[in-house]
Subunit: 604 residues, 2 copies
């Protein structure tokens, strides 16, 4: 498909310079003229961008009214296509404490002005127990603008100053639990997501419900949903072993919702926006400890959470007010295993501070190896260590590095050790065997592989070992145009590789209008965020969580099987995991691999 949405691209590009919190956008209205989630929070209604794809008339010719049927949770049903689904009844298996999901699709040949979905109580076959409504997340699967891989089909790295050079389409991704009802235009399809978080104390067995699809008060579809609750129990997310490190961007939240940074209002909204990360078992608190650790690569750059002040006698003064407030907030959210502090070696070796003498912001430009760099960071890290100890956070804090030239990293490490020999250090970068002992949390790209020996040694020493994907990978990935099952695949792969978890550099570095347009002026669409405003999750994120749940189930099952000496089953499980090979993803799509693997473990 090669339909280009030039008009939108132009508006988008024209407003890229508005990346500051003081932008000229009128309060509560974004460049598309729609309200943001500012007032009242959250926005419950919004209008998607126009579908650049024409109606697939052929698919609609045999439908005169409306059809409702179950689809699957891996598919982005196209708005302009009738998918010809027929399944009226669905059975889903899950452990106690697990989240299971189903997607239904409404395809209509006629205009429907007010479609809503009702789920009757999910009642146990014995009639003795129901799953309460607050365990159910339901919402329309909305359409957002996406683009595509680079022209050479190799990932999506590099700038995209002219988005019209990329195929732009609407794809189903955000799960909009806030819109109670939506109109559905004639000859369009609309997905609807139902996720059931099985209570840990549920009795096992079948829970059934009728799902009613209505247009105003008229029932236009009725589907049967059965949740088959198994015997085993999945622990709560904060008990999960999977080391999930998705970088949070509170600056995007303040800008999008047009609230003052670090205000009560900001934190109130952050609680909503980051709840899905907590519910996914997020482990790491992202902390920029200096101005713009990654330059201005995101629409909302990361500002320092530690205030740097150069006093008139030339000495430094560091204030931790924001840092403390943010870390305490995140710990209260249940995210408390690690504090990742970026960065001693930022992409641009320039350190912005408030200079008291001149009452202005100044930059200290200095690089590892220089005396000024050494003195600055030694002074900063010593002060920081003392503060962390006073808060009881020293042991969870990691001085975090991105991949930088080896000599620079070694120089930085030396200063860290000089400041406090017990400082923990993390790196998301390339595989350097000689660095492994230094790094308490080490994350490498999927294309590189830790040796089994390294992984064993690191595990024995209590060190965290993970992998990441970014714009370099075509598959697996979590672009808005990716196969959503690749989200699940990512966590399965960690299980296969005996890795502790997964890192992604962007949980919510939103584009200017993330609900409408996931394209950005760098990288493939969706690369910069996995969550949508208003605490909205999406096909990509829900699949990732499903994969993490599988990782936890595998961990529990392995222990169980080992305890019970079920070596044959164990071997079968290993064989299933072997199928998670990223080089095979073009041949066998992720949803096929994931579905097959799920069937296996749900059968144990």
């Amino acid at each position: 498909m090669n339909i280009r949405v030039k008009a939108i691209v132009l508006i988008f590009s024209g407003l890229c310079s508005l990346g500051s919190l003081n932008g000229q956008i009128p309060m509560g209205v974004t460049h598309s003229g729609q309200s943001t989630s500012q007032a009242p929070f959250p926005l419950t209604q919004y209008t998607e961008l126009k579908n650049p794809a024409p109606t697939d008339e052929e698919s609609w010719k045999d439908l005169s009214g409306t059809r409702c049927a179950w689809g699957d949770t891996y598919t982005r049903y196209k708005k302009e296509v009738n998918p010809h689904l027929n399944q009226k009844k669905i059975d889903i298996k899950g452990w106690k404490g697990e989240r299971v999901a189903a997607q239904l699709v409404v395809s209509s040949a006629i205009d429907l002005d007010n479609v809503s979905v009702e789920i009757a109580p999910l009642t146990h076959s014995s009639g003795k127990q129901s799953i309460s409504a607050d365990r159910i997340l339901k919402g329309f699967v909305r359409y957002v603008m996406t683009d595509e891989l680079n022209k050479n089909q190799k990932g999506t790295c590099g700038p995209r100053p002219d988005l019209s050079q990329f195929d732009s389409t609407l794809v189903a991704d955000p799960i909009d639990h806030l819109a109670a009802a939506l109109p559905i235009k004639a000859k369009t399809s609309q997905g609807y997501w139902i996720r059931v978080w099985i209570p840990e104390d549920a009795i096992s067995g079948n829970y059934s419900s009728d799902v009613l699809i209505k247009n105003n008060h008229e029932v236009i579809g009725k589907l049967k949903l059965t949740i088959q609750v198994q015997q085993r129990t999945l622990p709560q997310p904060d008990q999960w072993a999977f080391h999930l490190d998705l970088w949070q961007n509170p600056f995007a939240v303040a800008r999008y919702h047009q609230v003052p940074l670090w205000s009560e209002e900001h934190f109130r909204i952050l609680k909503t926006e980051l709840q899905p990360y907590a519910d996914a078992g997020g482990k790491v608190i992202t902390v920029p400890i200096m101005h713009h650790p990654w330059g201005g690569q995101t629409y909302d750059p990361y500002e320092t959470m530690i205030t740097w002040v150069r006093k008139i006698d030339g000495s430094w003064w560091f204030d931790y007010t924001i840092f403390d407030k943010w870390v305490e907030f995140m710990i209260d959210m249940g995210i408390k295993k690690e504090i990742g502090c970026y960065s001693m070696i930022p992409w641009k070796l320039s350190f912005l501070y408030f200079d008291q003498a001149t009452n202005s912001m100044k930059e200290l430009k200095s690089k590892p190896g220089e005396q000024a760099y050494h003195d600055l960071w030694l002074s900063m890290l010593k002060d920081f260590a003392a503060h962390l100890k006073s808060k009881g956070w020293f042991d969870i804090t990691h001085i975090a590095m991105d991949e930088r030239p080896m000599p620079d990293m070694l120089k930085a490490l030396k200063i860290i050790r000089e400041a406090d020999p017990n400082f923990k250090v993390s790196l998301a970068g390339s595989l350097h065997k000689e660095l492994s002992d230094e790094l308490n949390d080490y994350c490498i790209a999927i294309a590189e592989k830790f040796s089994e020996e390294m992984k064993t040694k690191r595990k024995a020493e209590g060190k965290i070992t993970t992998y990441y994907t970014c714009c370099a990978e075509s598959h697996p990935n979590t672009y808005t145009f990716s196969n959503p099952a690749e989200g699940a695949w990512i966590a399965w792969y960690a299980a296969k590789e005996n890795l502790d978890g997964y890192l992604r550099w962007a949980l919510n570095s939103w584009t200017i209008e993330p609900l409408l347009d996931s394209r950005f002026y760098t990288w493939g669409a969706g690369d910069t965020y996995l969550l949508y405003p208003g605490g909205r999750t999406c096909l990509r994120f829900e699949n990732l969580v499903a994969g993490i749940q599988a990782y936890e189930k595998i961990r529990i099952l392995k222990t169980e099987l080992q305890t019970q000496n079920k070596t044959a089953t164990l071997r079968k499980l290993e064989r299933v995991l072997e199928s998670f090979d990223e080089l095979q993803l073009l041949k066998t799509p992720a949803n096929v691999v994931v579905e097959k693997a799920n069937l296996f473990i749900n059968g144990l």
Copy 2:
């Protein structure tokens, strides 16, 4: 004269944008290519700008060698002219503790490569006592570029973006005590200043000395100097009653000498630069309490000495590190009667602060009458009052205003009273009778006159009442093209009007190269400074000090005459003072009026 120095003007204009301390000027070198006083401090040698005036050949035709003779202290002898002076012996009268001065002029028809001046010990006629060399200030009267009054001859207000539109000439002004010797080119004149600070404990009578003018080792002139020390004693400057308020600009000092603001080096240099102000009995410490109280009107704008930080909870935090250091320094210098704090009502109603949340400088734009303005200043002034009380400075501190619209001033006053009813307030502005009771220090322009009733009431209440001149006045004034005697006239006028003193808005708001070029891109040349770098004083400043000494002498004499009931003499004195009428200055130049008045009081 209408000779224009276009080349210099162009360089000057082109560099006006370099007004920041981070300018691109190479260390220690200014735009003319000359060293600044940076290294080593202070600069002892510099080259004046080229004289745009041609040699006055007519005046030189009867001179073949070199002529040295006494001139007077009111005249700017022209470089290109032979003034035909003849006086070889000079007698100067002065009180014990008084500074008295004489100017000699070397006029040479031939090149002299290394002229210096030696003063033999000033010995009492009894031979019993000498005035030691450290009581003598001597130096060449250097030539600096100046311009002229506005074309309509009415003051010098308004911008001068194209200085070539104004007549530019070299004038004698700075007294360069640092250059031990200078070359004198053929057919030029060179003034030389000798100031003797008579010791308080000197015995009265005549002190004489030979003044030798040498070229290398050759004596080229010999003049006789006699100081006639009278019976009366002038107190030390810190005991003077004259309320001298010349606004200091430490920012210009840091920029010109290229030292970090508020560094030890900066204060070391400030001690030299501000000593003449202390020696003139300066009473007021100038304090900008917010960013740019007068916008960017000076080459080196006034930056706040109080650090304004907006914390993330929206509350304000004020830090007084710079304020304390500056005030303590000035008090140590002996300037401690008043702290003038500018400004609640700055020219641009915008308040710059460091915003901790966004790690950036932000402006709060708010004006009197608005809630935000009220809250900001109430919070600031309460905090400030508490700090001042803790330092013991509350009683000398004045919240200082420039002339602003009356409703704004009344609103500001209300907030000041709300913050602390005992805050002192000062205003340099127009005469508003209804404000007089509110203002502890009230200064109005020379053209306006306080009523005798107001002055009497204010004096009885211990309130300070002064006047000012600025660009509005053609005469009296202290431009580099002004008659230097107008400096003295200014203080005599205060005596005549029974005012407490005089205010001028600029003691040392230097131009880019104050030693070379006193022209600025606004106002008449010299308007922005009365002192030159290196602690150099000048004809204008020395005349001002002479006037202040006369003011003190008149004060002492009046008390003496009243005590002794010498009403006839008192009446004569009043009549002498009556001659200080600014409207007569075009008819009778200041030097004539001042000289006559001096003769009178020195005869008492």
